[in-house]
């Protein structure tokens, strides 16, 4: 009798300890994030004081004259991520549809594994492949075609260098497709077969089933996948640095060299000798932190709005 009681006590203590340890680790994440924010804020204080709001809307990034404006980098980060998402999302949905609804069982496994493998390739490999293989291809075929046929748009003017905003966007899209498509595939797999079979039973075509049943049902999951991709795109550094051309000139043309926040940081941090220069770079980091935070918060809100759709689909 005594023994059982002892054991009971010991178990309760172990449970208590376990709860303590795990909540400590969970809290640690929050504390770490707060620290990160506080340190970024303190380190960027000199730049914030010196440039104020001008830092955000000025296009002048001039280390020699110690004048810093982050608009080209902020613009680059946002436009780059937008290009990547616009290209990657339709392709990813296509891949997921093929893998879950159309592909013969035999090739689902291997193709799925290949996509997951692509997701695990380090980004510098994508950057090097982009620079050595993809950029020459773009500059020889794709960009001259764009300039000739769409040159009336200011978006497609300039020299076909194979390096710039659009090429970096392409590489980024290729990099996030595996992430988005494998998540969407998993979501599609969760659509109850009964719903689809009911659709087919009513005489719907494959396209109608996918368009009217599978995609609406998986909507919030698709949103989640897109956010995952967007999160990666916003912070991606090495591949972008290789492909974007690293120019602080703000240009509307997608073929011109541009820069992004993460590329600027990777490039300029090591040799930034002046305090105000360093502080400006840290402020860029703070802005990226804020952009990521806002994007994630918005996406949470949107996923919450989409969620009821799923409930209705079920009923």
């Amino acid at each position: 009798m005594m023994r059982i009681l002892d054991r009971h006590k010991r178990d309760r203590f172990a449970d208590f300890l376990f709860k303590g340890v795990s909540s400590f680790f969970a809290l640690l994440i929050i504390v770490l994030m707060l620290f990160l924010f506080v340190v970024l804020a303190i380190e960027s204080a000199p730049a914030i004081k010196a440039f104020g709001f001008k830092f955000i809307y000025s296009t002048d990034w001039n280390p020699v004259r110690a004048s810093f404006g982050a608009l080209p980098a902020i613009y680059g980060t946002i436009v780059l991520s937008a290009i990547a998402i616009v290209i990657a999302v339709p392709v990813s949905i296509g891949i997921a549809v093929f893998l879950t609804e159309m592909a013969p069982k035999k090739i689902r496994g291997p193709v799925g594994a290949a996509i997951e493998l692509l997701a695990s390739i380090p980004s510098i490999i994508y950057g090097m492949w982009g620079l050595f293989v993809f950029a020459p291809f773009l500059s020889a075929y794709v960009e001259p075609f764009l300039i000739e046929n769409f040159g009336f748009l200011p978006l497609f003017r300039g020299t076909p260098l194979g390096i710039g905003m659009l090429p970096a966007g392409f590489i980024l899209a290729i990099m996030i497709i595996p992430f988005i498509s494998s998540v969407i595939r998993d979501v599609f797999l969760m659509v109850p077969p009964m719903l689809k079979e009911s659709g087919y039973g009513m005489g719907a075509t494959k396209f109608e089933v996918i368009w009217n049943i599978v995609i609406p049902f998986a909507r919030s999951g698709i949103m989640g996948a897109v956010i995952l991709g967007l999160g990666r795109a916003l912070g991606e550094t090495m591949a972008v640095t290789f492909m974007i051309g690293n120019s602080h000139d703000l240009s509307i043309s997608l073929l011109d060299p541009a820069t992004s926040i993460s590329a600027t940081l990777a490039n300029e941090f090591t040799e930034a000798v002046d305090d105000i220069y360093l502080s400006g770079l840290v402020e860029l980091g703070l802005i990226l932190f804020a952009i990521t935070f806002v994007v994630l918060a918005l996406s949470k809100l949107m996923t919450m709005r989409f969620a009821p759709q799923k409930g209705r689909g079920k009923a």
Binding site: D60, N62, V64, R65, P136, T159, G164, P257, V273
Partner: protein
């Protein structure tokens, strides 16, 4: 219970392993510029084989190197651009050159071989300013008769990352072009009026190799290793000079080291005849009154060894060694200026 003690043992031995690593850490630490890293790594390796002394050099960038030596967390710092005499005095530091680097403009023009294209200082500056837009511009063809240059747009390529190479290159452009010095100036990173930026020497080399009708600038070693097309530059005495170990060395030997305060000698656009105009030294920075005298002596012993025995490995890695007349001046200065308790740290 047995399991718990096993975990405890593991944890303890792990801690022990960490502290063992910490205690076995090298006695001499240096940090700074990335450009000379391969050379310093080779030297420290060779020196370690001969003397068993361990030196540890971290290539964290010149900015970091200067910060660390000022804070006294390392025994020596390294920077690609010289500090000014004033900055050195304020922090009680001295600097000396360890190797010479040549920055060479490289081009990618169909059918043009190394050394065929000649450029004058003002033409080079105006290309980077975006004032000369095509290879067929009259100012380029006038000095390049007999060379077939295409009627194509020039794309200038620059270093996107902050670097000593950019410092040397823009310092040169500022000296030879008033327009450049007014509009852009010089530094480890500048606001480029034109072109695309590659990351690192290898980034610029790749861009120039891949994109037609480009012009870029890289450390000499990268031009040689990547078989890029180099050009001849007009020197100060108006004669054209080819980039080579010899012409870089001439620039270093001809400079007035003795009378320049703090040895902040800049090797761009020097007066020496036959000197490559876009050269620069990479520097080591030490404290004049070191906190750790034993380490300071070891550092100077090492660099003395490197001056005297490191020339061959420098050349093998495409760095230009410091000429003897220059390092004699430096070693004299060590003897005079670096002191512990009033006594010189290095031997005469």
């Amino acid at each position: 219970m047995a399991k718990k003690s096993l975990i405890a043992t593991l944890a303890l031995s792990f801690l022990a392993a960490i502290s063992a690593v910490a205690f076995a850490a090298p006695a001499i630490n240096g940090a700074g510029a990335t450009f000379p890293y391969p050379l310093y790594a080779k030297w420290t390796y060779d020196y370690n084989k001969q003397t068993q002394l361990k030196l540890n050099y971290q290539s964290i960038g010149s900015g970091g190197g200067i910060k660390q030596i000022k804070a006294g967390t390392v025994d020596f710092g390294a920077s690609d651009a010289p500090l000014s005499a004033k900055e050195l005095d304020e922090a009680g530091l001295m600097q000396f050159p360890m190797a010479i680097g040549g920055v060479v403009p490289v081009v990618n023009i169909d059918g043009v071989k190394s050394g065929r294209v000649k450029l004058t200082p003002s033409v080079l500056a105006d290309i980077y300013l975006g004032k000369i837009k095509k290879w067929s511009d009259a100012r380029i063809t006038a000095i390049n008769q007999g060379v077939k240059l295409p009627d194509e747009r020039i794309t200038p390529v620059y270093r996107a990352d902050g670097s000593g190479t950019t410092w040397i290159f823009t310092n040169y452009l500022s000296k030879v072009s008033k327009d450049w010095s007014d509009k852009v100036g010089f530094g480890t990173a500048v606001k480029w009026p034109e072109g695309v930026g590659g990351k690192g020497n290898e980034g610029v080399a790749t861009y120039v190799k891949r994109i037609k009708n480009t012009i870029g600038y890289v450390e000499y070693a990268f031009a040689v290793q990547n078989k890029l097309t180099t050009i001849s530059m007009q020197g100060k005495d108006t004669a054209f000079v080819e980039p080579s170990m010899a012409s870089f060395s001439t620039a270093a030997a001809g400079a007035n080291w003795k009378n320049t305060p703090g040895f902040s000698v800049i090797l761009t656009d020097t007066d020496a005849k036959g000197a490559w105009p876009i050269a620069g030294a990479t520097f080591i920075i030490v404290h004049k009154k070191p906190a750790n005298c034993e380490n300071a002596k070891a550092v100077l012993d090492f660099f003395d060894w490197a001056y005297k025995n490191g020339a061959e490995s420098a050349k093998a890695l495409d760095y230009v060694p410091i000429p003897k007349q220059v390092y004699d001046i430096m070693e004299n200065a060590w003897f005079k200026e670096i002191r512990c308790d009033g006594m010189p740290v290095s031997k005469k």
